[in-house]
């Protein structure tokens, strides 16, 4: 039996009441997804250093980068990016960067290829030799230092932040610094070399601590911190997003390259 015409119209109207919002919802979800994908692609195509200056790209990258950071980086760098001195893991919320200037592109490179992580694209150059050992450096024949020389060097470096109390000892320290070849990485002016990850020794920023005992230990036992290479573990988008997130943790630098 055929339903009356008016009943059929009412049923159609009821159906439309469900179908139209459903279509609108689907359209909204699809549009949102397409828009998100477009923004994600824009984040990847953009000049990395321009992302933090573009509110739309910045927000999208930071929102996507935060969970990546939490999953892969926070175990060493800490949830708030404050680092860990016992492991020589750097503080990410200051403006000090051991490896160059801390641009988004440089952070992304480190996340992708690591530091001393076995990837040839990565930063594998400098290792702090262990001068209280028979062979201080595996890659280069360097002479070990005597306990007295190590003590002189440690006091010399410590004096830059603690203050010079004995100018003669400071001169002996400088002679020891030059003789031991420390300048080769840290520079004649002790200003460091960001290109090889050799830190400046005259400021009060310390990766492993700046007490005289910490400095003595760094000279005696050496240091060689490592950052893993995530090239095979994270997608390009995740790497870019996490780099933007990490860069956003540091205060804005007007001269950032």
């Amino acid at each position: 039996m055929k339903p009356p015409r008016t009943f059929a119209r009412a049923a159609t109207r009821r159906r439309l009441l469900w179908i139209i919002p459903l279509f609108v919802l689907i359209a909204a979800v699809v549009t949102h997804g397409v828009r998100d994908r477009a923004i994600a692609a824009q984040v990847l195509r953009a000049d990395p250093e321009a992302i933090l200056g573009d509110p739309m790209l910045r927000d999208a990258a930071i929102a996507a980068g935060h969970p990546v950071y939490a999953q892969h980086c926070a175990s060493c760098h800490g949830a708030a990016g404050k680092g860990d001195r016992t492991l020589g893991v750097p503080h990410l919320t200051d403006n000090e960067h051991l490896y160059r200037e801390g641009t988004v592109a440089q952070i992304e490179d480190i996340a992708r290829y690591g530091i001393r992580a076995g990837n040839k694209h990565g930063w594998n150059l400098a290792v702090m030799p262990a001068y209280a050992s028979k062979n201080p450096d595996a890659a280069e024949p360097l002479p070990p230092q005597t306990p007295a020389q190590i003590e002189t060097l440690a006091r010399f470096i410590h004096a830059f932040t603690a203050g010079v109390t004995d100018p003669a000892a400071q001169q002996r320290g400088r002679d020891a610094y030059n003789k031991a070849g420390c300048w080769d990485c840290h520079g004649r002016d002790l200003g460091g070399d960001g290109a090889i990850g050799a830190p400046a020794l005259t400021d009060d920023i310390w990766l492993y601590g700046g007490s005289i005992a910490d400095i003595r230990r760094s000279i005696s036992r050496g240091r060689a911190g490592m950052s893993p290479a995530f090239a095979r573990k994270l997608t390009p988008a995740e790497l870019r997003n996490v780099a933007v997130y990490v860069a956003s943790l540091a205060p804005i630098q007007s001269d950032r390259k």
């Binding site: 000049d47 990395p48 492991l87 992580a117 990837n119 893993p228 095979r232 390009p236």
Partner: protein
Amino acid sequence: MTQDTASPTPTPTPTPPPTLAPAGALWDVHQPVGRRSLLLAAVGALLGLGIAGYGLFTAQGTRTASIPAEDAALVNAIPVLRADLIAQVTALYSVPYAQTTRSQRQKVLDDMVREELYVQRGVEMGLSNDDIDVRQALVQATEGQIAQDAATAKPAEDELRGWYTAHRAKYASEGLMTLHEWRVPAGADPQRAVAALRSGTAPDALGLKTTGRVDDGEEFYFAAQEHLGTRVFAVARGLADGAISNPIPSPDGVHIVQMIRNTRPVATPYPEARDQVLRDFLADKIARLQEGNKRFLKKRADIKIAADLQ
């Protein structure tokens, strides 16, 4: 009276000849229209094809439709990463990427494309088998890959502590010693010289001369061992502060060691050694993974070794 009691039989309605549904019927869902079913099926098929095509041409590894956002170029479907381009451009011109010109970027990209083409050609030509540098680079890169995989997961604190406990001696400080090494003059009695030294007689008074091997003051154990030789060092290591050794016969005469101060190695507390523990733990993990990888590769490979070399 005859009454027609039979109910009136409905006259069968003649079936209308099949005609095309009126135009408006296609959109009236209450009217069955064959064309609508076909249309919906066609739309569904097209939608399915579209989704399948999108998946096929945009999935990872099948980058054929367009250049993915993260890539600067595709060379025979092998990507050249934008990030690598940026790194190379900034390294080459020493200016921020934004300040480089289009031609500078294109030049670097052109070089990268050329490199990729040559790499692909090299693989085609079998250089990975022939060229010694390529072979070494491949071995190192494969080893490096294993190292990367091993390092991306940070070990748990318990694992690090366990490692430290098992290798505590490795994290001890280097021992230190300050000492004199005397040579007994020819004809003198070494035992008497030792007894005199132990009773406080000055070495000069006994005619003892230094060997000159450890006169630089405090030395690390490894340096003292290097200077004294294994045999004399072993004796020296066992001496307490202020102790005098027994005579030690040596090729150049009899030696006596006078220990001034012997500071033995001290275990470094875990928090101070943590960075080194992590480094050693990972190095060991990498070595084990590489060993396991070698076993796996050997197991799956078909290796035949000549009978005389087995």
